[in-house]
């Protein structure tokens, strides 16, 4: 039963949802090869793919999938609660992107192109590769939660995608401000790539990075219950479903 629903949801979302993260990474592999040919170190660009591009892509896809459902009236009449259906879809997309990103991260590490922050001396962090995965895990979870909340709040694919893209570009343009402001630090999503934090770092800088990753993870986790609550309001779900 569980696997039937899983495959059904996967089919319903279409191949484009499963193929997009793979195509993104294939594209970045080609860019990395070009940079290698041009004698430019591709490690930071590959880090950008994991930390900046795949989370944004997932957030936009999540907002598209959750903001509108053509069969919403029908969904709300079936015994299975709609919020559970959406959460299942969200888990599938998040899980699939996480698998693609993790595999890409392993391949990048094998090729010795990793851009992982490491503390010096390394005694406080015995598992640098695993801790380094926080580079993308925190941002991915944050973007997934933000995509869910914005999709449900705006009830519009275009508005939620524009806002997710807006957050992305604002973080890049005002990166210095995000880096130093205490109130912006918990939502500073791309410090590893933007501040070039790959490789050995001083203990202070490493702690800053680790604190930031945990704070981003926490703010992402805080957004999820908001999305959950928004999903439990049938009136909200029906209202605005045809306004696009």
């Amino acid at each position: 039963m569980f696997s039937d629903r899983f495959w059904y949801e996967l089919k319903l979302m279409g191949k484009r949802v499963t193929l997009t993260p793979i195509l993104v990474m294939v594209g970045f592999a080609a860019i990395a090869a070009l940079l290698h040919y041009l004698k430019v170190d591709p490690s930071r660009t590959l880090s950008a793919a994991l930390e900046m591009i795949l989370p944004l892509m997932t957030g936009v896809v999540i907002s598209a999938v959750t903001s509108q459902d053509q069969a919403i009236e029908l969904q709300l009449t079936v015994p299975r609660k709609y919020h559970l259906t959406v959460m299942r879809r969200l888990a599938i997309i998040l899980g699939w992107t996480a698998i693609v990103t993790l595999l890409s991260s392993v391949i990048i590490a094998i090729l010795n192109l990793g851009f992982i922050p490491r503390d010096t001396p390394a005694w406080t962090n015995p598992l640098p590769f695993l801790v380094g995965q926080l580079t993308w895990i925190a941002t991915l979870l944050w973007y997934v939660a933000a995509g869910l909340v914005l999709g449900l709040l705006t009830r519009s694919r275009a508005a939620s995608a524009a806002l997710l893209c807006g957050i992305w570009i604002v973080e890049i343009v005002f990166k210095d401000l995000f880096g130093i402001s205490a109130w912006l630090k918990p939502i500073f999503l791309f410090p590893t790539t933007l501040f070039a934090l790959g490789g050995p770092l001083s203990q202070t800088l490493f702690n800053y990075w680790l604190d930031n990753r945990l704070e981003v993870l926490a703010t992402g986790l805080l957004l999820l219950p908001i999305g959950w609550l928004l999903l439990r309001s049938p009136e909200r779900l029906l209202k605005g479903s045809s306004e696009e």
């Binding site: 940079l35 519009s156 275009a158 807006g166 570009i169 604002v170 343009v173």
Partner: protein, 259 residues
């Protein structure tokens, strides 16, 4: 059949449809709050730095450039679903049966949706112009502000709008939306010192650095551009816009013929 009334009709209808769309205003209001909330202090600092000694036009160009750093993203993403919407709502066949030519309908849709989406951008621009006028205690700022908007913002937004309509006729809308924002950073804002091949720093940049720096002498965009390069950049952007719209027309015509 005279196509001009058809063009005006489509333009008017698309304009109204877009301007009344809640998503447009929700996006633009939240977008503005996000940018001003995070970077308002930075903008104010930039605009007031040596403001008395700088020509008004350079201040206005700087503001127009700043607007253009962010808002074309919202414009591009908001226009991306206009063509797929016709398909989704199954009105495409109905339009094809109407007497208006495909090219006329396409142009009407392009200008109608683009102009409506430009209105909130213009409001934000005017708000900044008002602040500059208040600080400078000079009402001349208001008529002067039209020139930077026309030279810096308009070509970029025309360019972005054409690609938004064209790309989503062959591409999944969410895919285009995130690729577009990626392009915007890579092709406009990425510094060339990293050695990554980029369009950034060339005249093919819809963000408008060459116009701001070359035509208006904006000093903080260190491109060292000439006025001629600014004009070349505008011409190139407009020519590519026309080419993209022409290609889109050909593509839609081909798709229609295959049905």
């Amino acid at each position: 059949m005279n196509q001009f009334p058809v063009f005006l009709g489509v333009l008017r209808y698309e304009f109204r449809m877009q301007i009344r769309r809640p998503a447009l205003w929700i996006t633009m209001i939240l977008f503005t709050l996000l940018i001003v909330g995070v970077g308002g202090g930075v903008f104010r600092g930039e605009l007031l730095r040596n403001a008395e000694s700088r020509p008004l036009l350079t201040l206005l160009a700087q503001w127009a450039y700043r607007i253009n750093t962010f808002f074309p993203i919202a414009v591009g993403v908001l226009l991306a679903d206009r063509l797929p919407r016709d398909r989704r709502t199954k009105t495409e066949e109905l339009f094809a049966a109407a007497p208006g030519a495909l090219s006329t309908r396409l142009l009407g849709k392009y200008f109608g949706t683009m102009l409506a989406t430009l209105i909130p951008v213009l409001i934000v621009y005017i708000a900044g112009v008002g602040l500059i006028a208040y600080d400078a205690q000079n009402a001349l700022v208001i008529p002067l502000s039209l020139a930077p908007f026309a030279a810096i913002n308009l070509p970029g937004i025309l360019f972005v709008s054409a690609f938004s309509l064209a790309c989503t006729s062959i591409m999944w809308t969410p895919l285009f939306q995130f690729l577009f924002v990626g392009y915007w950073f890579w092709g406009n804002l990425l510094e060339t010192r990293f050695g990554i091949p980029t369009l950034s720093g060339t005249i093919l940049t819809p963000v408008g650095g060459y116009m701001a720096s070359g035509i208006f002498g904006e000093p903080f965009i260190q491109l060292g551009a000439t006025a001629m390069q600014g004009v070349e950049s505008i011409i190139l952007l407009l020519a590519i816009t026309a080419l993209v719209m022409w290609t889109l027309w050909g593509l839609l015509k081909w798709q229609q013929a295959r049905q």
